[in-house]
């Protein structure tokens, strides 16, 4: 049998039980290997002496307090990230001033819709997603004044969506009409109580108004392309929700902003209908406006079946995506530095699972939901 190599002999010094029985038998009977081991062990002992430091027992609890203070200070100093500003602007906490933001969201949905299917006299269903696709969005995109332009009047019919927090799973299911989903098991690192939230079903309309757009552009000092006569006065109707959100790892303290470790969300697919306006014409017009970056317009135009595809904004350079199968349905896996997520659509419901997890953990949860 061959002699044991230096690495194996070195390991015997630290972890003698890691030796295989075959190697152990050789070592016991080989004087040459024993002599080499002695030499290696001498160097190891000398190194241990060289690297000796006086004893010291750290205090993790005190250090944790200090680190918490520094993290809080760090978070306070840090300006909000672009997606935090975006989320804040487009959250359900809509204020009247947020009207243009809603218009942009409606427009983004509409821009994907070019195949109209009649749903009623004079109405076209321009968007009803059955699948998802990534759209890379950079930090400076939508940061310009174009995103704040006022394209027309937004109305909720009758009320805007309402976010409610609930005390238990049964109430959450009853309020949303959606089934509360639980993973077969929770991965390591996900803990704390689960929180439930529901967002009510809502119908909203945007009536395009050339005068309002012109006035808002003049106020902002930006130049916009004049709204074509066919678009002026036309109306988009968006149907969205209800939605059900389950979140793990949220702090019990309301003052502490914390990213949940795991979120499971589901919503009925949103739909967009239009009153007779030519969707292609509207798409071309909106994509040419200030505030819509050319590469995003190109990505939206490149979606193969846009009327049935929901674009998922992906932070450019911070996350990558790949198609995956979730129980027989195609989904989109998003891998980021901070975590991972997966989005898919099945039987008229869009599902999303994400958090401070690895892609494998996210997929395991997504496929085990019941």
């Amino acid at each position: 049998m061959r002699h044991l190599n230096d690495g194996t002999l070195r390991r015997i010094y630290d972890e003698p039980l890691a030796l295989t029985s075959l190697d152990q038998a050789h070592f016991d009977s080989c004087t040459e290997c024993k002599a080499r081991f002695e030499s290696i062990a001498n160097v190891a002992r000398a190194t241990a002496t060289l690297l000796t430091v006086p004893g010291f027992t750290p205090e993790p609890a005190a250090a944790l307090r200090s680190v918490r203070i520094r993290i809080r200070a760090d978070e306070t100093r840090r300006p909000p990230r672009w997606y935090e500003r975006w989320l804040d602007r487009s959250s359900p906490r809509f204020r009247p001033i947020a009207t243009p933001a809603i218009a942009i969201l409606l427009a983004a949905a509409l821009m994907t819709g070019v195949t109209a299917t009649g749903v009623a006299q004079g109405w076209f269903r321009v968007f009803a997603p059955t699948t998802v696709a990534p759209v890379q969005v950079g930090p400076s995109d939508f940061a310009g004044t174009g995103a704040l332009l006022d394209y027309g009047e937004v109305k909720w019919l009758p009320d805007a969506p309402t976010l409610r927090q609930l005390t238990d799973a049964t109430a959450a299911a009853a309020q949303s009409g959606l089934q509360v989903l639980m993973p077969a098991s929770l991965p390591q690192g996900v803990s704390g109580p689960v929180s439930f939230g529901t967002i009510s079903h809502a119908t909203g309309s945007l009536t395009f108004d050339a005068d309002r757009l012109r006035a808002s552009a003049a106020t902002k000092g930006v130049r916009v392309n004049a709204m074509p006569a066919r678009i002026n006065g036309s109306k988009l109707i968006v149907n969205a929700g209800p939605a059900l959100i389950e979140a793990w790892g949220l702090s019990a303290s309301a003052s502490q902003v914390q990213m949940p470790t795991l979120v499971i969300a589901q919503t009925r697919v949103p739909t967009v209908d239009s009153t007779g306006v030519n969707a292609v014409e509207l798409e071309d017009y909106l994509l040419s406006q200030p505030g819509v970056p050319p590469d995003i317009a190109a990505q939206i135009k490149a979606i193969k079946d846009p009327s049935t595809t929901l674009p998922i904004p992906i932070p450019k350079g911070l996350a990558t995506t790949e198609p995956v199968q979730i129980n027989g349905v195609q989904g989109l896996l998003i891998k980021a530095v901070l975590g991972a997520g997966v989005v898919w659509q099945k039987n008229g419901v869009i599902y999303a699972v994400g958090g401070q997890l690895t892609p494998d953990q996210v997929l395991a949860i997504a496929t085990s939901l019941q």
Partner: protein, 187 residues
């Protein structure tokens, strides 16, 4: 009307909750588990308590910004970051000079030793740290991780190598350090 209240977490009543009660958040749990190891690695490199704690806390703050505490590679990331951050400190001439001054007059480290012995030991540690700073970063990191008490498997995870190669590379690293120390202090 729209409700504009902030998201308020509530306690659910699912069977899983029973398992989750009393468990600290993932970052806190990871911190309490790993902080002693992370400090030990930095301390092994720097031989200075307060500098080691500074490095360890910086490592956790960087970790908080970049990595999920639930990531299965979290511990490896922390160990490697501790070794590399501390080695970067001993490579910085200005900070090294400051640390050595503080280190040489630290009476708390061996209160029963004589002043002469303290000076000799401090000088010896300085020589070793200088030798260490001249080794390739990965070689020095391997030595520090192993001599801080990490297992071969933990060292392999932290440095992204096969556990089977740790013994060979450790043996070479020890030889390299020995030669570097001998070169610096010829008999």
């Amino acid at each position: 009307m729209l409700q504009s209240q902030a998201w308020q977490p509530v306690v659910g009543r699912t069977p899983l909750d029973a398992l989750r009660q009393g468990v600290p958040d993932p970052f806190e749990r990871l911190f309490l588990e790993e902080y002693p190891k992370v400090v030990a690695i930095a301390y092994r490199v720097l031989a200075d308590r307060s500098a080691a704690e500074d490095v360890a806390q910086d490592v956790f703050i960087q970790f908080h910004r970049r990595v999920s505490p639930g990531d299965e590679r979290a511990a490896g990331w922390l160990h490697a970051a501790a070794a590399h951050s501390a080695l970067n400190v001993i490579r910085g001439e200005r900070r090294r000079a400051q640390r050595e001054t503080a280190h040489a007059v630290d009476p708390a480290q061996a209160p029963v030793a004589s002043p002469e012995r303290l000076v000799v030991e401090a000088e010896s540690r300085r020589e070793v740290r200088r030798a260490l700073s001249r080794l390739p970063q990965r070689t020095a990191a391997l030595l520090m991780l192993r001599y801080s008490g990490l297992s071969y498997a933990e060292v392999a995870t932290a440095l992204g190598m096969k556990a089977g190669n740790v013994g060979t590379l450790l043996r070479r690293a020890e030889e390299a350090l020995r030669k570097e120390v001998n070169r610096a202090t010829p008999e």
